[in-house]
Amino acid sequence: MFFIPFAIRRGRRDWVALAYSAVYTNFLLITVATVAMVWALVTHDFSVSYVSQVGSKATPLFYTIISLWGALEGSILFWAWVLAMYAAAVVWINANRPGNLVPYAATALMGISLFFGILLIGPADPFKSVFPVPLDGPGPNPLLQNHILMAVHPPLLYLGYVGMSVPFAFAVGAMLSGEVLTDDWIKITRRWTLSSWGLLSAAIIAGMWWSYEVLGWGGYWAWDPVENASFMPWLTATAFLHSVMVQERRGMLRLWNLNLVVGTFVLTILGTFLTRSGIISSVHAFTTGTIGYYFLAFIAVTLLVALALVAGTSGRLKDENRFDAPASRETVFLLNNLFLTAFMFTVLLGTLFPLVAESVRGIKVSVGEPFFNRMSLPMIVALLFLMGVGPAMPWKRTSMAELKGKLLPPLIGATVMLVIAVAFGARNFYALVTFTFVGFSGASNKFEIWYGIRARHRAHGENYLTALFRLMAGNRRRYGGYVAHLGILTVALGIAASSTFRTETEATLKPGDSMTVSGHTVRLKQVWGREEVQRSVIGATLEIVKNGTVTGTIEPKMNFYPTSQQPVPTPQVKSSIAGDLYANLQAFRPDGSSATIRLIYEPMVPWIWFGGMIVVLGSVLSILPTRSRA
């Protein structure tokens, strides 16, 4: 079944229409394969190797379906399917465009598809037959069937990750077809890049959320290689979203943009390599097989081809303009790119260093959180600052007088945030700087939107709410960007507040005993056990006590899956806009006479998730087509 798409794919490309139908056929066949796999999972066909690996009759239907991406082979199949879908969509939308750009881009996409096809018939074949057929399987990794976000984070990540191959394919297509001299490829891929970026942002936030809700340590980011793997392409893609505006507006940075697009794509493949090859042990690394070599070879080939193309193009590629003045939006974008790229390289270095050290010097090391925190904080605060300066700066050049008027609200915002942070007791240097710059840029972006509303209000006499909607509708791209900025700033605020003001305590309680963390008191009511279909659950019921009265309960649990020696912690979080009360059951006496509870209070954590949603809203706004202006 799997040989067909590859045979067709190698067909004659000079007949473009035929080649396009091959792209559709490819999508169709991989869809058939994916549906067949889901069917096999649902019907518990344990003769299929993948099903015998992740399936189990006791697993609820919902988790059975999503175990499609719960292990290596299935996740590669899912990846290939998303790619085939994108390729078909790209061809469908652009089929009538004259010129060679789209055919070449389609070829590049099929080339990537071919690689994943090879994986699927080679080291990651999910359809191997198993004999004798087992009666039941072990079920998915317990960590992956313990929370609903498992249905959210992986698909988002794949959609975002794989989506980055579209701009890459078009960049390759543009270089091959010579259309790199026009900026058409950028216009065609703008929505693809933006939507992939939005999906990737959402996926990263969802991954943080999952880690927070499932792993029981009360954190959401640990600079783990798998987190870094998703974060690095996000950094370069963010850089690209900004620098591409310079190219569109001013015809500059063309070569740089090609490099960013290539880099982003290679980083997604590198990320897949890191997480899927088993080179780093984590919940994402499923197996230690030969698949890593395939990835390394593919990365090498991609880099060679792409860099050769870029080098071949660089002579012909001329920028139309040059930088006029140091104080201009272009300069801010340039600095933004510089910091984002440096940030990416820092993360890359910290992520790859242990691998290199082990293979070259034979020592086992890991690069700890202090490295990442110390190195990234200066760049993060610089980026937060630029986020406020950029929107206030006009293109080309700016006068000090103009700037002074525009920078007043941000400066007030910065001062207010600084005072609030100090009043709440923040003393750490970077925390204070972060709060200040969030205030600065938050005010700056809000005021940019406000200026627009005011202008409409004055010019058309619209009321403010109508003006807001018409403004957003009229120039979605620009205001979508500001909304995304506000989302990122909200995320930054949540992270800064929760890491600065987090308090935690751990205690062993007997029923009736209570413990307190920063003013929140809980009292142990009972330790209990319960049998569920696929697992055994042991939980502790804690009453939240305020001024002597019980205002609610919080129930951290431990889930025991038959196939795992370790129980899966299942913390419970009580969220409010001010912060989260987070309880985890660490241990219990077998007779239920006591339970050890870790209780954490983390202010403003929900702001991170909420900020993530604002980012997505911002990118959706920018993607929607602008209606013809009234």
Binding site: R374, G529, S536, D591, T596
Partner: protein, 153 residues
């Protein structure tokens, strides 16, 4: 002219990135690398092994786990595969529920001059191989015990 300018900018960017990089390498990475050692390797370092951020990986020596749920003090001995290179570990906080003898663990922390390894985090090595939990230690039995306990009190 324009092209030259853009190239200059590219050069500035590249130099900037490389400069940042060098600074990072020099200042950051060196001090923040955490070595992964086994008890045998750590002991072999002698004086050089003390007070450094280390990940120590080995097995829980049978019969050495002492957990005080009042003070939340956890003490145990990590041993190497040779069974003779032992290092005493102290950490704060509850051990994983299924913490038991001969289990593979990794602790992160510093080896003090008092020959006690102060651990700040404790990770249990998950083996991919399926092993049936011992009777009394699987979830079903624990739930049963717990419910009996609840009904008698």
């Amino acid at each position: 002219m324009a092209a030259v300018n853009s190239r200059k900018l590219a050069i500035v960017a590249v130099v900037g990135i490389i400069g940042t990089f060098a600074w990072l390498l020099y200042g950051g990475l060196d001090k923040n690398v955490v070595y992964f050692w086994t008890p045998k390797e750590l002991i072999a370092k002698g004086d050089a092994g003390f007070e450094k951020p280390v990940r120590l990986g080995g097995q829980v020596k049978p019969g050495t786990v002492k957990w005080d749920d009042k003070t939340l003090d956890l003490r145990f001995v990590i041993t190497d595969v040779d069974g003779v290179s032992d290092i005493a570990v102290h950490s704060k906080g509850a051990p994983p529920q299924m913490f038991r003898d001969a289990m593979g663990v990794v602790v992160e922390g510093r080896y003090g001059r008092d020959k006690v390894f102060q651990s700040s985090s404790l990770m249990v090595k998950h083996s991919n191989e399926y092993k049936a939990p011992k009777p009394g230690q699987n979830g079903k039995d624990m739930v049963k015990t717990l419910m009996q306990g609840n009904s008698t009190t």
